[in-house]
């Protein structure tokens, strides 16, 4: 705000109160009530005001007191922020920054714990970034203010208390690049915002167990930095995405699609995505913990990913508890795919893993056939059990699988529409 007198802040309680999380503390005394504007409670209208001010030369920063309140401003963010540069044929730029605290806090209730990344990600014309440390918060904020594009900056309610030594002088981070947090060799873990800390905590455990995860904070939620992510995948061949967003239509879902499109050949295993449950965040502390991904789940997912070359994330058609399959029993279906029937509930403490990352986490998980594949398999060679195609199975004397060991134990073969047959 010192450098450029056009920069101003609009939001509820940003001025005299200093911001609901004190982000703008002291600014109103220094810059005046007009530059740090306390607005009435009218999100849609003051976001539209920011758009109008941006079109006529100012550079406003809009604060949503809680990110969830910006749902009321969705009309202006989507139609005006995102689209006006295009529909005006490039005549007007909208250099706004829309920011606010979001994410699941400590028992704030469902409506104050929303993650809006997934809702905003389809809007054409906006960029989304998520900051996670004081260092990248300063750099990304400066970059967002100086950018000519409308930027939505996601902060997290629980990260405001972080303390870190950061440079006094100005620095600007790139809005489109991801950040390498911990280089590694075995698996790429992609994350952002608060989940970065859960991942780093899980990483400590993983390192003690002998794994070497590579952790990347993607920072730029839209567009994805496919270069950094791609380089990492080409090195490790396994991806785990850990996010706080909802499972359905979240950032992880888009990232999975983008990685599959661009780097499918480099993957040795299915991409595993750990996200929050599709559940309105409950108030009760225990329930709230189970909606969000916790470090033990991350550890378990990495272990599974590194042991099993072929991990299904979705239930198989036809495989279900109704067919008399025990939870936890391994199932091969001639539809293709190996998975674990049922499951969705894990042991205590790991609750809610669901189908994400493999179906179930029970002790005594038998090592499936190709446990040797993975860590030292040469890149590009898939030493997995290659299932015989339906044609091959139908012919008398089903042939041996092409790769080495056969399944070490009897499994239930389930095929669609017919009674299960024991193999």
């Amino acid at each position: 705000m010192d450098r450029d007198p056009r920069v101003c802040v609009f939001g509820e309680d940003v001025g005299h109160y200093g911001g609901s999380y004190k982000v703008t503390k002291g600014l109103a005394e220094k810059y005046g009530d007009l530059r740090v504007l306390d607005t009435p409670i009218a999100e849609n209208s003051f976001t539209g005001m920011a758009v109008g001010a941006a079109m006529t030369g100012l550079r406003p920063i809009v604060e949503g007191m809680n990110m969830g309140f910006l749902l009321l401003a969705f009309n202006q963010i989507s139609d005006n922020c995102g689209m006006l540069h295009y529909t005006s044929g490039g005549q007007f730029t909208i250099p706004t920054v829309i920011r606010g605290p979001g994410g699941v806090g400590r028992q704030l209730g469902a409506e104050h714990s929303q993650r809006l990344e997934s809702y905003f990600q389809s809007i054409p014309g906006i960029q989304m970034v998520a900051c996670s440390t004081p260092y990248n918060a300063k750099g990304l904020m400066k970059a967002a203010i100086r950018s000519e594009n409308p930027v939505v900056l996601f902060e997290h309610v629980l990260l405001y208390n972080l303390k870190e030594r950061i440079p006094d002088e100005e620095y600007v981070l790139s809005l489109e690049e991801a950040e390498m947090v911990r280089p590694g060799e075995h698996v790429t873990i992609l994350t952002y915002s608060r989940m970065r800390y859960h991942v780093m905590q899980a990483a400590k455990t993983l390192v003690n167990k002998g794994y070497d995860p590579e952790v990347i904070d993607i920072r730029s939620l839209k567009p994805f930095d496919l270069y950094t992510i791609g380089n990492s995948i080409k090195k490790t061949h396994r991806v785990l995405i850990v996010e706080e967003c909802m499972r359905t239509g979240g950032i992880g879902a888009s990232l999975t699609a983008a990685i599959n499109e661009n780097f499918h050949d480099y993957l040795d295993a299915q991409i595993v995505c750990l996200s929050s449950q599709d559940v309105p965040t409950p108030y009760a502390g225990t329930l709230e913990e189970w909606t969000v991904v916790q470090p033990p789940q991350i550890v378990a997912a990495v272990e599974q990913l590194l042991q099993n070359p072929f991990v299904r994330a979705t239930p198989i058609k036809g495989a279900g508890l109704g067919l008399g399959v025990r939870v936890g029993q391994k199932v091969i279906s001639n539809q293709g795919g190996l998975g674990w029937a049922g499951g969705g509930r894990g042991k205590e403490g790991l609750g809610g893993l669901g189908w994400a990352g493999g179906g179930r986490v029970k002790e005594g998980l038998e090592k499936p056939f190709l446990h040797t594949a993975g860590l030292d398999a040469p890149h590009g060679v898939h030493q997995m059990y290659i299932r015989p195609s339906p044609m091959e199975r139908a012919s008398p004397g089903a042939p041996e699988p092409r790769a080495s060991p056969a399944p070490p134990e009897p499994c239930l073969v389930v095929s669609n529409g017919r009674a299960p047959e024991w193999n």
Partner: protein
């Protein structure tokens, strides 16, 4: 001018202004002005049942400034406009009408598609307000924005080629009928959702105040926000009235009350159909004016705009007007009573101004005909220009999505996607 308390109506933030307005008589005597029907001189009453034709039974709030009032008292010969002004107003209104008629023709010939909303019948509001503005003042409109853009100065050929979807249009063909923007003439759009433009106008007015107070520039730019009666039931309208009055922003909220929101009559959708009354509730003057009479509108506009320029804050002006055509060119317009349409057809603002100009010997019939011919030629030329303009090329597809195209991100090869040569061809996958 009957009411001596008239001048009080424009004092800002006077809580009693609402009551005073109720006791005022009509604004200007009908005999000096054209096209308006004499209104019953009753006091306003809230609980009247209002039928579609008789809904205007409330008195009009008087609005003129002291200066004009004195002029009127001095001499009945004193006219409101000079010859030059009269010709400018006539030309602008005729341009609006001819342009919209040509739009309809072109639409039915398949030269333009989508939703096209025509402004026939409401020209007095656009001309009355916008012809008072400077080039730096901003105008924000809705989807019925062709004539606002034309009045503000956007050349007819640019608007027509925008409608045809050609790349010489004011928005390079990317906006269309409902999104007319012009940086040069400060037309801030053109919004498809109603109510969406009002906060944008409030923001533009905020910039004007910011320039005055933070940059310490000598800035008296005013913003006009045009919208309809349907929008006045929308939350954004009320939120912006509050903020504009709170911060005394230099903005005028102009309601083009044409009684119909597609097929929804204003009286069926609004608990209190008198929109001007909603201004004093927020602490700004609310004014009602006959929107079929360009001279009355102009008088009100002068006062409202100069109030905003002086820094006294916003005004809410409700213009009673009517659209002769349907809501859009796709609207069969079956719900409106033909008698109502006929009634308003007799109050056509262009015929009314023509009559006024001729009767008061400001210009001759021949001069007006010359203007009409000139406008007709200009419209023809605009259509030809639009016809001959090229359609946008594929390379235009990805431009302008971001002001800074780095916003498309970094591709798998490490380069920004906008550096990919296919990006400029419009075929890159982003």
């Amino acid at each position: 001018m009957a009411c001596s308390a008239t001048a009080k109506i424009l004092q800002p933030l006077s809580i009693r202004s609402a009551e005073k307005s109720e006791s005022c008589g009509k604004m200007l005597s009908p005999s000096s002005f054209l096209g308006s029907t004499p209104l019953p001189k009753k006091l306003f009453s809230v609980n009247k049942t209002i039928s579609p034709l008789a809904r205007r039974s409330a008195t009009i709030v008087a609005v003129s400034s002291d200066v004009v009032k004195e002029k009127k008292l001095k001499s009945t010969q004193n006219l409101l406009i000079t010859k030059e002004e009269g010709l400018v107003l006539y030309e602008d209104m005729y341009l609006g009408r001819a342009f919209e008629d040509m739009c309809a023709q072109m639409y039915y010939r398949g030269k333009m598609f989508g939703f096209v909303h025509l402004y026939n019948g409401q020209e007095a509001v656009s001309t009355g307000f916008i012809k008072l503005l400077k080039k730096e003042d901003c105008v924000v409109s809705t989807y019925r924005d062709h004539v606002h853009a034309l009045s503000k100065g956007v050349p007819a050929r640019q608007v027509m080629s925008e409608l045809f979807g050609k790349n010489t249009g004011c928005c390079r063909g990317q906006g269309g009928s409902m999104h007319m923007f012009s940086k040069e003439h400060n037309v801030l759009g053109g919004f498809a959702f109603i109510g969406e433009g009002i906060p944008v106008a409030t923001g533009a007015a905020f910039t004007s105040k910011y320039k005055r107070e933070v940059f310490k520039e000598d800035c008296d730019e005013v913003t006009l926000a045009f919208f309809g009666d349907g929008t006045c039931n929308n939350g954004q309208f009320f939120e912006c009235l509050n903020m504009a009055a709170l911060w005394k922003l230099p903005i005028v909220f102009v309601v083009e009350n044409n009684l119909w929101a597609i097929g929804m009559s204003h009286l069926r959708s609004t608990s209190d159909p008198q929109i001007w009354k909603k201004g004093p509730a927020f602490g700004m003057p609310g004014v009602h004016v006959d929107g079929m009479d360009v001279l009355k509108v102009r008088e009100v506009a002068k006062e409202a705009v100069s109030r905003a320029r002086r820094g006294e804050g916003p005004t809410l002006v409700e213009c009673e007007t009517y659209r002769f055509r349907g809501h859009s060119l796709a609207d069969p317009d079956e719900l409106r009573d033909p008698a109502e349409k006929a009634h308003y057809a007799t109050r056509d603002p262009i015929t009314a101004l023509k009559k006024y100009v001729i009767e008061n010997k400001l210009a001759s019939e021949a001069e007006l005909k010359a203007i009409e011919k000139k406008i007709d030629e200009e419209i023809e030329e605009a259509v030809e220009f639009a016809d001959e303009s090229p359609v946008p090329e594929r390379s235009q597809l990805l431009e302008n999505v971001f002001a800074d195209p780095k916003g498309f991100g970094i591709g798998p090869d490490g380069k920004y996607r906008c550096e990919d040569p296919k990006f400029t061809q419009g075929t890159a996958q982003v």
